[in-house]
């Protein structure tokens, strides 16, 4: 766990920032951080979060430690239990390791020793470095780790984001990656955070941070049509005032709600997200819309585009109950994928081909695990090594729906509708389903 509390706090004053009053900043009598490290801002927790009983917490930790010891077995044989435990919230002391196991970034880390340092040593493209540097002080500025200009948090953030641009030069840097990387850094060292970020960008949310942002726009359309099923009232309201999904869901989805929800809820959402994948992002978004715009009384207060947007941009913390976020809406992976097929078709009809085909999206831990298993079964016959360090060739990634895990030499193209799955050992011969 990294934090530079004192250094961070002394740095705030130089900036003339508005965290608390001057006396709070310059003297030692600084405002106490909340239990998540926030000094203030909208995500500061006023201590209202109920702590679970010590014995319960200890029991949960033991269960998780037991799972860690037999991780592969738990995922392959008792995944429902893993899922349930993620939904209950991962014990904070074990969260970092759990996220890395759930996302399989642990394996990337272990199989690529020294790779992060190598990436760090590269000079990097000034085009990206310039933007990254400008963004460092604009990520969770009220969190003790990131409050100080040039402090440890900001330095590590630079290292992780820069490393990614070297790792994936064709992708570079997208500003929405910064808060995601920052959340990871609040829990783990830079190298670990880097591999975790790689998994999020390439496996959980492929294409979200790519030029053109087509993947996020497509998910916006999918999200909106799911809303029609889940909460027709909110759907009609947004439609009436011509509020496109990208107006409100861009930040929600790209930052996985890290800038939207109270911090305790952010962590719960991320626990589920790592386990179950993008489905959770859709569900949480739908729950929020249902909460904000799901009744006649609520809609009466937001009669207008601006009023509605204001409400959605400033969701009152008291209206978010952690337990509500786990409400199991009938939004399944299959439904999302079916909707995706429809929206891809509509996209092609109205806007033409997608210019950037992202890699295949894997729906959380089990899909990643399954994929890994299949890959190793194939590679055990030859000299291919899964999770190696050779990045897939750029043009091929960009031109077809290929698996985006690094070093995976057996190419696979899978359409999102799950109708056709083609596996082959050479990308040229892989045929694409009509969805893409």
């Amino acid at each position: 766990m990294m934090s530079g509390t004192l250094e961070s706090l002394s740095g705030i004053g130089e900036d003339g920032s508005s965290i608390g009053s001057d006396s709070e900043i310059n003297g030692l009598a600084v405002r106490r951080t909340d239990k998540y490290g926030f000094l203030g801002g909208t995500q500061y927790s006023e201590g209202s979060d109920k702590d679970i009983r010590v014995d319960v917490a200890r029991q949960r930790e033991m269960k998780w430690l037991d799972m860690f010891n037999n991780w592969d077995k738990w995922v392959s044989r008792r995944f429902q239990k893993v899922k349930l435990r993620c939904r209950k919230g991962i014990p904070s002391s074990l969260r970092a390791k759990a996220w890395q196991l759930l996302s399989n970034s642990k394996e990337l880390l272990d199989s690529n020793p020294g790779r992060f340092e190598e990436l760090e040593r590269e000079p990097g493209d000034p085009k990206w470095l310039d933007i990254i540097e400008k963004d460092l002080h604009r990520q969770f500025p009220f969190h003790e780790m990131f409050a100080a200009r040039g402090g440890h948090g900001q330095q590590d953030l630079f290292r992780v984001l820069k490393a990614y641009t070297v790792y994936r030069p064709e992708e570079g840097y997208c500003q929405a990656q910064a808060p995601v990387a920052a959340v990871l850094l609040m829990h783990m060292p830079a190298e670990h955070a880097f591999w975790c970020l790689v998994q999020i960008c390439e496996t959980y949310l492929p294409g979200y941070y790519s030029a053109g942002l087509e993947a996020i726009q497509l998910d916006g359309e999918i999200f909106f049509s799911l809303l029609r099923r889940v909460c027709p009232m909110a759907y009609r309201h947004l439609k009436k005032f011509k509020i496109d999904p990208i107006l409100y869901m861009t930040e929600w989805f790209m930052c996985v709600f890290s800038r939207t929800l109270p911090w305790a809820s952010v962590l719960r959402v991320w626990d589920m997200f790592f386990c179950e994948g993008v489905k959770i992002v859709f569900r949480v978004g739908l729950v929020l819309l249902k909460q904000m715009l799901g009744s006649v009384e609520k809609l009466r207060e937001v009669q207008g585009m601006y009023e509605t947007m204001e409400r959605l941009r400033n969701i009152p913390p008291e209206s978010i109950r952690e337990d509500l976020l786990v409400v199991s809406l009938a939004v399944t992976e299959a439904l999302i994928e079916r909707e995706c097929t429809i929206q891809v078709r509509k996209w092609r009809e109205s806007r033409g081909e997608l210019t950037h085909q992202p890699g295949r999206r894997l729906n959380g831990t089990r899909a990643i695990h399954e994929h890994k298993r299949r890959a190793s079964a194939i590679s055990s016959g030859g000299s291919f090594s899964f999770l190696g360090s050779i990045p897939p060739p750029g043009p091929l990634r960009a031109s077809s729906s290929l698996l985006s895990l690094p070093g995976f030499l057996v190419w696979e193209s899978v359409c999102l509708c799950n109708v056709v799955t083609v596996q082959c050992c050479h990308p040229v011969s892989s045929s694409l389903c009509s969805c893409f």
């Binding site: 400008k134 963004d135 409050a147 053109g212 996020i216 990208i246 107006l247 800038r259 207008g304 601006y306």
Partner: protein, 212 residues
């Protein structure tokens, strides 16, 4: 609060030029160097008075990074005014103005009033773009121009208000069809009946809902 008109603005320009700070200075009269990066879009609103009429400005503040450009384009729809911002201490932000302008012209309605803003005028010692260059660019492209400082608040009010004045004049001249919401102008609920004659067209009944 009742207003005679509502104008929609959009703030555009490279990342880090101070778009969000300009908005905050205008709406809240404060400068906050520590703030979250804009991802997607942020909003602000403020009431101003022009010619004795209450005008509500509804301002959309956008993400500056190029990858967000495809999304930003959809925000132009229905904007009456745009603040195109560059940073006087960073020449590259000035060099990119042409691209921004092309985007704005292509995706907005042709009457949209564009104000060119050279921000961070308080950082004179680090200046890379002369005021005359900004003026020349504005002249060449038919924009209004001002240098501002979101930090000291210098010219911030003026930038937003002068843009509104220009829009207001266009309404008076009948350039804007105020009954077409796509122009980024709405007639206030109470004023709909009296003002409908301004446009010389078919009344302002669609503003009766009192929304926004």
């Amino acid at each position: 609060m009742a207003y005679a008109y509502l104008f929609k603005y959009i703030i555009i320009g490279d990342t880090g030029v101070g778009k969000s700070c300009l908005l905050l200075q205008f709406t809240d009269k404060r400068f906050q160097p520590v703030h979250d990066l804009t991802i997607g879009v942020e909003f602000g609103a403020r009431m101003i008075t022009i010619d004795g009429k209450q005008i509500k400005l509804q301002i959309w503040d956008t993400a500056g990074q190029e990858s967000f450009r495809s999304i930003t384009r959809s925000y132009y729809r229905g904007a009456a005014g745009a603040l195109l911002v560059y940073d006087i201490t960073r020449r590259d932000t000035f060099n990119h103005l042409t691209t921004w302008l092309e985007d704005a012209r292509q995706h907005s309605n042709s009457n949209m009033v564009i104000m060119l803003i050279g921000n961070k005028s308080d950082l004179e010692s680090r200046r890379e773009v002369k005021k005359e260059e900004g003026e020349a660019f504005a002249r060449e492209h038919g924009l209004i121009f001002m240098e501002t400082s979101a930090k000291t608040a210098s010219n911030v009010e003026e930038a937003f208000i002068n843009t509104a004045k220009e829009i207001y004049e266009k309404i008076q001249e009948g350039v804007f069809d105020i009954n077409n919401e796509a122009n980024g102008i709405k007639i206030g609920p109470q004023h709909a009946a009296t003002n409908s004659t301004l446009s010389g067209s078919q009344g302002g009944q669609q503003a009766g809902g009192g929304c926004c």
